[in-house]
């Protein structure tokens, strides 16, 4: 894949940091505003998919390639499971909010969700990683087969 025209490349260069930041923002504030781990992860994956489409496979390899995406995928799901098990150990129930809800910050602030932001971030990484893997296997199918 050689990528697209210079216009697409330049616009990608301009907006991709903001897309990434926006995706993480959506995942991070999932307990305060509409959104959450899944939409945030989709946006993050969309950022990398945009870069891959605009610049081609080679350009994205140092940033977020297939292997790191699947590693992210697995690690994120494991950390989600760990949060659940930590709730089991400390909070008395699987996925219990063992960091007391509303403990560090006041209500309607960023740090008021207990373990919810952590879980949302884990879901965001999980979704981002797996969506990118899906995209990579489908769109770069030929390239992977030829290797």
């Amino acid at each position: 894949m050689t990528g697209m025209s210079p216009i697409v490349k330049t616009v990608t260069r301009w907006v991709s940091p903001f897309i990434l930041a926006f995706g993480i923002y959506i995942a991070l504030t999932g307990h305060l505003t509409p959104g959450g781990g899944f939409p945030g992860g989709v946006i993050v994956a969309g950022c990398f998919i945009l870069i891959t489409l605009a610049y081609g496979k080679e350009r994205v390899e140092g940033i977020f390639d297939l292997k790191s995406a699947s590693v992210t995928d697995s690690l994120a799901s494991l950390s989600f499971l760990c949060m659940g098990l930590l709730g089991y150990v400390f909070g008395g129930g699987f996925l219990n909010n063992f960091i007391q809800s509303g403990f560090p910050g006041k209500a309607f602030e960023l740090l008021s969700g207990g373990n919810m932001p952590i879980i949302n971030i884990a879901i965001g990484f999980k979704v981002g990683g797996s969506l990118f893997v899906v995209f990579a296997y489908l769109a770069l199918f030929r390239a992977i087969e030829e290797e």
């Binding site: 899944f38 309607f108 979704v127 899906v134 489908l138 199918f141």
Partner: protein, 116 residues
Amino acid sequence: MLTYLLAFILFAVGLYSVINKRNLIKIIMGIIIMEHAVNAFLILIGYRLSGEAPILEEGMAISEFVNTAMDPLPQALVITSIVISLGVVALMVAIAVRLYQHYGTFDITEIRKLRG
């Protein structure tokens, strides 16, 4: 009642496509249409005329929230089912692409080594 009718028409369109079409991609699209019909149905169940988004804001009384907010549960269900259907559709497309590599066609009448 219109809700039910709308969802059923969409559902029937998808089911028709799954049953009657011979192209793998059209079958997959039929599945997607069916899933969207069910998702739309779920969302419409939780709809309330002139309701508000179910977000508890600062300084809002609980009774006021209950009286104006829409039912958030169907929305949670729908996002879960969207995630699931994403996985199913991704797997379907991947298998369809593989099948195309083997047979060179998307026509199911030509991909029929196995008998039901």
